[in-house]
Symmetry: C2
Subunit: 381 residues, 2 copies
Amino acid sequence: MAYFDNAATTYPKPECVYQYMDKFYRECGGNAGRGNYEQAKSAGELIANTRSMIQDLLHCPTKQVVFEPTATIALNLIIQGNIERGAHNIYVSPFEHNAVTRVLHHFEKQEKIVVRQLTVGENLRYDMERIRYQFEEEKPDFVIVSHASNSFGVVALLEDIFALAKKYGARTLADMSQTAGLIDTNVGLETFDYAVFAGHKTLYGPTGISGFVMNPEADFPAVLFGGTGFESANQDMPESLPQKYEAGTLNIAGVAGLYAAIKWINETGLGIIWEKEQEHRAKLMEILSGYDFIHVVGADKDVPYVGIVSCLIDGISSDSAGNIFDEQGISVRTGLECAPLAHQFMNTYPAGTIRFSVSYFTSDKDFKELRRALDYIEDNL
Amino acid sequence: MAYFDNAATTYPKPECVYQYMDKFYRECGGNAGRGNYEQAKSAGELIANTRSMIQDLLHCPTKQVVFEPTATIALNLIIQGNIERGAHNIYVSPFEHNAVTRVLHHFEKQEKIVVRQLTVGENLRYDMERIRYQFEEEKPDFVIVSHASNSFGVVALLEDIFALAKKYGARTLADMSQTAGLIDTNVGLETFDYAVFAGHKTLYGPTGISGFVMNPEADFPAVLFGGTGFESANQDMPESLPQKYEAGTLNIAGVAGLYAAIKWINETGLGIIWEKEQEHRAKLMEILSGYDFIHVVGADKDVPYVGIVSCLIDGISSDSAGNIFDEQGISVRTGLECAPLAHQFMNTYPAGTIRFSVSYFTSDKDFKELRRALDYIEDNL
């Protein structure tokens, strides 16, 4: 199996992630933050250290790190909480995932919010003049931008958009599910209110541990309620961070894996990982462009891309192509990849695309297998 | 370290849980239900098999198994969804955890619901006559019962309470966080609408994977929204189960651990595990009763108990006692254990108790260490 579905989850993980998860969970499987004894304390230390490593990685020492089981839950809490707090005019990029758009749709149906798309040109650049005009027309309360499209890999210039949004007093949310740990980003800027990370994607950690960093001033009402091992007598959620948004038992095995993963990123160098993934993307593009029946979608503009490439194959639906690749031992993702609005924007809706995604670990063997499979498809079309 | 905090999380886990988690995640770390390729399919098979093992374990072949990252999230979805659907008169046991009571408190403050406590007598038995009278006075819409108190271990007779609740047309929710996989329970009864399980407690699985089983007729609105890898074009959550309540990437390493854990329960025998834990509880009670300065709370009634024992120590606050036990290498939980209402009911509020909790794996060495620590406290009080 040659793995080209790293945008779903990076695979394999660094060896140290598997090892440390197993070792820590065996030796310190006590319940973090829920006891006062030695083992619970070392779990507590691991959690504190992992928070501070995330602050370092994202250059945001004064922001609060909040753990959630998934980026989807993190996005739900932030978006639902801000809508409850009164956010009404919400702007989103055209590339949002269903973890954003389905949440918004729920409140749009109830007429609690109005959702508008930020203008992106055919060159896939954000049209700052038009966006300024949009903001003048309808003042933004909340601006949500996917840092990199999970379908097409195109990277947004977060800093510019958020700086503009802040001039109009909006709160800002970056969905960094496809970029945290991969694109060096100064989340410490005052213009970033929230940035969501997915532990099991570009952070190379395990599933089950994700979260967000937040400007502590950009508080919002809790959406999920429960035990925090803290102020137990209080029937309201504690107002203190991160407890207010961390009800329930933390996935300590997951945190251990994430800790090892970020340590690996630091040791390897985020810049080196980025370059390696860019090399792998270039190699992927080179291979795909060698076949006339393959048409890469939206990957030829003068903007940055992460290692995600979407394409179409002449005469074969993306779903059938998925089956063929599967038979040929190539793992790809096909269809709308949970981002139907991005496909509407790129005119690949409703059939979707065939998505290839690479990581630091994509190997020569993977690429060789991909060539072999594409040769087979070419010969048998 | 002698571990007496199994009610927070069982520790250690069966060896096969560590091994299988590591092996499966290394070999099949592809993203479950999000791709069509071989590796994603074997993750998909693991998930399907684990669902069906939970159905078998809880005797509910026609109920739907839904995975959530934590029991807290499972409880939030069910309770918030049912309140949105119109549940107004809500009855709870006196033993609910903050994962239930804090959710209810949030909606009580908004005057959307009225919460009443089911009558439990001094013998810790549910007073069915009084409860019938309560239901006559104010018809129940929703009845929530913690199967076993996480603070005092006392087990509720779910079947009787739910049968009565159903006569009044209420929906029923069992919080089985402290009992799933330990107390043989026929969740297949029509009177059970929802039963929540915590993977990392009595199921002996890892943190980060929990969920609920539900009567498929007892549908409720989704509370969290996002990608399901399914009907991606639909901006509403799919109505199909379990997708409607499973937005976001499943913790596949966690599911692998839970699979191995339930397999271990089946091979060991749930009845054997129960008996062993009861033996350990008896041993714990015997040890504690040997010291005059220790007063066990609410553990002497003619009702079943799981392996949880709460006590007080003469002249020492529960928090100080926690520190002393920690210095002596004994892990216990002290205070309100996220269940302040249970402590109000048992008259141990607000200081709380010192909670010891055993598991199948509590060893002679653990008990020996406990005796040594108690002797030390006796000599140095």
